[in-house]
């Protein structure tokens, strides 16, 4: 389903976000990307739907080379849902309009710009809201919802795309534990019932262990571990998160903060 081959990406020449990443993800898998912040998880996710263009290497989604043309890019994006740490809803729009945003790639530019969607789209959007348990909030403004609810709207926006893949960039990092579990449960359900491939970056190891079939550890822009969720040993996990030399500064800084608080 997703074929990432020899992908490298650097920002501004100096910072190497990804280095020669090879990763194949099959249809219907639930993959967790693990790693410390700044390891390149977000960049890797964004290479899959072309929000980030790799400097080298190729990304193929469902047989389409993502970065080959504008048409290919739009095709891949329309079939790939994405949810974000900060939800990224349009706060001043109604919930239903936010969900319908997921249909834009399938809609006529002119009728959609006067908020005219086919009845079938609106009904499908309501159905997707129902699946995430928010059918009753459809006509409220998005900013009136709690964080957990907003993230579920984000999932509905992805679902309404009828995607083959859903990418989730730290989807629960801004949520309380209960909402986190709820969101992860919904993702798992979608994965199992619809067979949608799910790639989610997480920093909460327990959640990853609980929901993912496969764990991919990323550190300094490279894949360091790639195993079934059950097979990952404590030692390997520690290896992913071990503070390297480059992080010496932050460790030092944390130490100082503690001193000041004492």
């Amino acid at each position: 389903m997703i074929k990432i081959q020899q992908v490298s990406k650097s920002f501004g020449g100096k910072v190497k976000a990804l280095q020669n990443v090879d990763l194949h993800i099959g249809e219907g898998e639930f993959v967790a990307l693990l790693g410390p912040s700044g390891a390149g998880k977000s960049t890797l996710l964004r290479c899959i739907n072309g929000l980030v263009r790799p400097c080298r290497g190729t990304v193929e989604v469902d047989g389409i080379s993502v970065h080959s043309s504008k048409m290919a890019l739009r095709k891949v994006r329309s079939q790939t849902g994405m949810i974000f740490q900060q939800f990224n809803l349009v706060k001043r729009l109604k919930v239903i309009d936010n969900v319908l945003c997921g249909r834009l790639a399938y809609s006529n530019i002119f009728t959609s710009s006067i908020k005219m969607f086919p009845r079938s789209d609106v009904e499908f959007a309501l159905y997707c809201l129902e699946r995430v348990g928010l059918a009753d909030k459809a006509y409220q403004r998005a900013d009136q919802l709690s964080g957990g609810q907003q993230q579920r709207v984000g999932i509905a926006r992805a679902l309404v795309q009828t995607p083959k893949i859903i990418l989730a960039d730290e989807p629960v990092a801004s949520l309380d534990p209960r909402s986190s579990l709820n969101v992860m449960n919904i993702l798992k359900k979608i994965n199992q019932e619809d067979g949608i491939t799910i790639v989610v970056s997480l920093h909460d190891l327990d959640l990853a262990r609980q929901f993912a079939d496969r764990m991919v550890g990323i550190k300094d822009g490279t894949v360091v571990v790639d195993k079934g969720a059950k097979d990952l040993s404590r030692q390997e996990i520690e290896e992913i998160y071990r503070v390297g030399k480059s992080d010496g500064y932050s460790a030092d800084f944390l130490g100082k903060v503690e001193l000041v608080h004492a």
């Binding site: 349009v90 834009l104 530019i109």
Partner: protein, 270 residues
Amino acid sequence: MPDTSVRALEGADRPGWKLSALLKKGMLGALVIFIYIWSAYGTNLSVSELVRGYPFMADFLNRMMPPSTANLSGLVAPTIETIQIAIWGTTLAVVLSLPLGLLAAQNITPHPAVYYVTRWVLNALRAVNDLIFALIFVAAVGLGPFPGVLALGVHSAGMLGKFYAEAIENVDKGTIEALEATGAHKLQIIRYAIIPQIVPEFVTYNVYRFEHNLRQATVLGMVGAGGLGFELITSMRLFKYQDAATILLVILLVVTGIDHISNKIRARLI
């Protein structure tokens, strides 16, 4: 051990009273004072002139009193015209500046070259005062309120376009990215991610601009571009100071009235 590091951190925060910093501040102060004195000479700033001119001012005000009521009925039409100029001038400005604002916003401009050209156009429109535009348009389309509308529209477009562009640049990047990720077309992203987010700023700027344009519309008549300004300059030239006083009062009334109404509109819409 913790104590020493805390003290070290505090020490690092304390501003150093170094001689060089003091010298810098002194020189900056001297420069500011110099600029003020120099500009005072340039503008013939003089307290004695002001004192000597006082009787003439008093005489001037005296001649205005009491404001005449004879010309009141003749002022109705120009007052309405002034408001109409402001309405159409502002509307024209909004229509012109919407595309300009979109092209001049760094985050959605189609090309950097387009960005620079539109920014330059907006700067040029702002640099030329609306009275100067009015002079140009009077020459082009003749006397009357229409050149006034054009002048306000074109000059205000420079102002509004810049404000719109800044509002667009401040839009939450995440929502734009989220819509890009769905494969939405750029026009759809503008419609669904950008426009809803700039509505409050859009309304505020437009209402402010309408107030400003109304004030400008009261002087456009001085260069022949319609409205109350024409009545004012005519009565001054004919030494009808009592009529002029009435016109000034009407202007005061209309401007404060519209300010009041637009404050209400703003409060309701946001």
